[in-house]
């Protein structure tokens, strides 16, 4: 290739220079666009954080300012004294922890038998599961079922209906299939039954997959609010997101009158209060996010492991 370039003035060389200039433009555009999009993704959250700490008079004077000149924790103090915040936290915590635990346990014990290609009935069960991904009964039949099971107004109505995700089950099954048979065979020779194999071999080897699924399910439970709207009418059992929704989207007129203003020394105005409640709700996610980011990149490739 080098021999083909005679001199720097040859048309060949000019063409290569132009090509690399085109490359540079292309590269710059890439960096700029991706960078802008990344900024766009986190910018609104900075606004939310800054507004939650701004005293309301400051906000009224200049709503566009990003960094507050004065810090005020009045909103947070008010939230601290708001009983529904605490019950909401308790509900969401319970649902997230217990729900995720059930998700993971069911995922592991179901994926293992389904990963055995020669198990009789396996194809039938797989077909049954796949079908549910594309067709379901709808909102009303599901509500009727939950009601018939007397799960209305309990946390279980939020945990049981989504206990196994067919999609995740398939991913987990693929992952478990990739574990070499030789490990299982040597365990069988040593006298282990399938339960022991599951506990001592499959689960430890599936740690990256399990970590990824824990993340997905936990975040899903933390953020979910649709099922709660359907099944939970008791305000004391409301998870955090429902409270956020009423306060922030519905302008929480109800709540402001009911409990938030009670006992507040310094009244944080509705807007700052709303921003504060948003910050409080997404704070756990932000805290957990850096630690688990390394897992889900790997995790998303689980289902497509080829070699």
């Amino acid at each position: 290739m080098l021999f083909a370039i005679r001199s720097r003035k040859s048309p060949d060389w000019q063409k290569r220079l132009q090509a690399s200039r085109g490359d540079k433009v292309f590269s710059t555009i890439n960096y700029v666009v991706v960078g802008l999009f990344a900024l766009l993704c986190i910018f609104p959250l900075f606004y939310v954080l800054s507004y939650s700490l701004t005293p309301y008079e400051q906000y009224l004077k200049n709503p566009i300012r990003l960094i507050p000149t004065e810090l005020s924790f009045a909103a947070y103090r008010q939230l601290w004294n708001f009983p529904l915040m605490w019950t909401g936290f308790r509900s969401t915590l319970f649902i997230t922890i217990v729900g995720t635990a059930i998700n993971i346990v069911l995922l592991c014990i179901s994926a293992y038998p389904l990963s055995k290609k020669d198990l009789k009935g396996r194809n039938f069960v797989m077909g049954m599961i796949l079908f549910t991904m594309f067709f379901n009964g709808g909102m009303i039949p599901n509500y009727y079922l939950v009601r018939s099971l007397h799960l209305i107004n309990t946390y279980w109505s939020l945990i049981l209906p989504g206990a196994i995700s067919a999609y995740n089950l398939i991913l987990m099954r693929n992952f478990v299939s990739a574990i070499p048979d030789s490990l299982e065979e040597s365990a069988i020779i040593d006298g282990a039954n399938e339960l022991v194999i599951l506990g001592k071999i499959i689960v430890p080897l599936s740690k990256p997959a399990i970590a990824t699924f824990i993340l997905f399910h936990a975040v899903g439970h933390w953020n979910a609010y649709f099922n709660s709207i359907l099944y939970i009418s008791d305000r004391k059992l409301w998870p955090l997101m429902l409270i956020v929704r009423e306060m922030v989207v519905d302008s929480g007129a109800n709540m402001v009158q009911q409990g938030v203003t009670a006992g507040a020394q310094e009244l944080a105005q509705p807007f700052t209060l709303k921003m504060a409640i948003i910050v409080v709700t997404i704070l756990p996610i932000i805290c957990v996010y850096p630690f688990v980011q390394k897992y889900f990149m790997k995790g998303m490739l689980l289902g497509s492991v080829k070699g």
């Binding site: 290569r16 085109g22 490359d23 292309f26 590269s27 890439n30 960096y31 666009v33 991706v34 990344a38 900024l39 766009l40 993704c41 986190i42 609104p44 606004y47 709503p63 566009i64 069911l106 014990i109 179901s110 293992y112 038998p113 009789k120 069960v125 599961i129 549910t132 594309f134 379901n136 009964g137 709808g138 009303i140 039949p141 599901n142 509500y143 009727y144 079922l145 196994i164 089950l169 039954n193 399938e194 339960l195 599951l198 933390w222 953020n223 609010y225 709207i229 359907l230 997101m241 956020v244 929704r245 306060m247 922030v248 989207v249 807007f271 709303k274 948003i278 997404i282 889900f296 497509s304």
Partner: protein, 315 residues
């Protein structure tokens, strides 16, 4: 010479052999029991609940006790102008999503792939995945407040530039834009993961050969990367088409208000409003059934078409 066995004898030994097989692998079947029970109870039993749409449902009488009305509910539904409005809203929103929000993760993934600086790549990826982890209740809350016509940030900026404030969530033409834009904000970054994964599967020899032949980066992108991820894109597209009737209750519900209802009412929110809040269970079930069936038809058609065009289908 062996005596031919009787039919019953053969069946009996088949049964015995099956039972012996199950007993030998009893732990595997035991482990599978919760899963099967779960799917039957929470997925197949509600399918039976679809019968509600053929009956005049009454909670006290239950499903079996309620009167059978055949296709009356369906006839009623197809005669309702509301129904067509909701149908159009759902479809239009999804078509917008397919046209605008679907290509963006692909393009983003291609661009991210071309970035050479490791730190920049990692930082931007961390940033763009983040909105996916935020609940629609929160995003909706942020949007409702930032886009408020009286005290929202966005309108303050517009006013300071000399224009009139726009009631984004109150006017029909802006609502769809807000819905699609917020979808992009939340899901585009996350959507790049699957395409990036496909891109990393492309063999470097292809790129090397193209470089030797003098291809610029743009040419390499168009002629190598794009064709190689075509399968992934098509598969994702088919799946996306399969959910063409669904717009996600959580997103639409938080952005809805009485003023934009004429464009924002989609099937999920309509079913909720009419069924759960309005108490008309039979009708709501009918709408739900219609949605599921249409989605299946779209999915099967998309799958069939893609196979006809030479691509892989889902099955």
């Amino acid at each position: 010479m062996r005596e031919p066995r009787s039919f019953l004898a053969v069946q009996r030994t088949k049964c015995q052999r099956f039972l012996r097989y199950v007993l030998r692998h009893k732990y595997l079947y035991l482990l599978l029991v919760p899963c099967v029970v779960y799917f039957i109870v929470f997925h197949y039993v509600p399918m039976y609940g679809v019968l509600i749409s053929f009956k005049d449902f009454n909670f006290k009488k239950g499903i079996l006790g309620s009167e059978w009305v055949g296709f009356e509910n369906f006839e009623y539904m197809f005669g309702l102008s509301d129904f067509y409005r909701v149908f159009w809203n759902s479809l239009y929103l999804n078509i917008l999503r397919l046209l605008i929000a679907f290509p963006i993760p692909v393009i983003l993934a291609l661009m991210i792939n071309e970035i050479n600086n490791r730190y920049f790549k990692r930082i931007t990826q961390t940033a763009i995945y983040f909105p996916y982890f935020i609940s629609w209740a929160v995003i909706g809350g942020i949007l409702v407040n930032f886009l408020s016509p009286t005290w929202g940030v966005v309108n303050e900026m517009i006013k300071s530039l000399g224009f009139e404030s726009i009631f984004f969530l109150g006017e029909a033409k802006y609502f769809r834009g807000v819905a699609v834009a917020s979808s992009i904000w939340k899901e585009a970054g996350w959507g790049t993961i699957i395409y990036l994964a496909a891109i990393t599967g492309i063999g470097p020899e292809l790129y090397e050969a193209a470089t030797v032949d003098g291809a610029s980066r743009l040419q390499r992108l168009v002629h190598i990367t794009l064709p190689c991820i075509k399968t992934t894109v098509v598969l994702t597209f088919i799946l996306r088409v399969g959910s063409i009737m669904s717009n996600g209750f959580e997103q639409i519900f938080t952005l809805q208000n009485t003023m934009n209802l004429s464009v924002s009412e989609v099937f999920e929110t309509y079913t909720y409003r009419v069924g759960m809040l309005g108490g008309r269970f039979s009708f709501a079930t009918t709408v739900g059934l219609f949605t599921s069936v249409i989605s299946m038809i779209f999915l099967l058609t998309a799958n069939f078409l893609s196979k006809k065009l030479g691509e892989e289908g889902i099955w």
